[in-house]
Symmetry: C2
Subunit: 114 residues, 2 copies
């Protein structure tokens, strides 16, 4: 697998944490925010939020820009979209395999009867 697998991996790991999903929710609601202001609306410290934002950044789920002395974050949709497509494709793949296995099983059953 190419780097797409890498993206999926980091995105899944990033989304697996409830606090990080909260961070993303807040960020999506505000459009743009700093770690300090995000921490106000969350039950954790600023430093915890900073760490979560670093993970989200590594997964490509957020973007950061320096404005003066503060760092503003904003959500990105590309990685999430990639992962959603991967997951849908995986579900479709499973369905395909299951259907195939079912056909084989039924064919074997028919043969047994005859």
């Amino acid at each position: 697998m190419d780097q797409r697998a890498e993206v999926v991996d980091t995105v899944l790991a990033a989304l697996a944490d409830p606090t990080r999903r909260q961070v993303l929710d807040l960020l999506a609601a505000r459009g743009q925010a700093t770690a300090t202001t995000l921490a106000d609306g969350l039950p954790v410290s600023r430093q915890a939020v900073v760490k979560h934002l670093a993970v989200l950044d590594a997964a490509g789920l957020v973007d950061s820009i320096k404005v003066g002395r503060e760092v503003r974050y904003a959500v990105r949709t590309e990685s999430l979209d990639t992962t959603a497509r991967w997951m849908a494709a995986l579900a479709a793949d499973w369905d395909r395999r299951l259907a195939k296995i079912k056909r084989v099983a039924e064919a074997a059953e028919q043969k047994e009867k005859s």
Copy 2:
């Protein structure tokens, strides 16, 4: 949120682990398998596989049936599908919000110029 959020939560947590994704891959390839036979094709012990299967089962990603004295597992697609849809909807939601924020920002900029 209802139980759909619960599903998404457990599915994300389940898929976040690389070994569990391997287990699912193997299971999808074989259609049906026991923890013991799955452990043969994986770099971990049978007990580790059993634990992973328990997590996957709790997330609704696999199904188990007892056949004689062995327990056979098979993949399920419903939960994965639900999560894929949730993720796609989330990406769309973010896009919507970002577009809205962009419009507001541009409108404010226009006003400032005049």
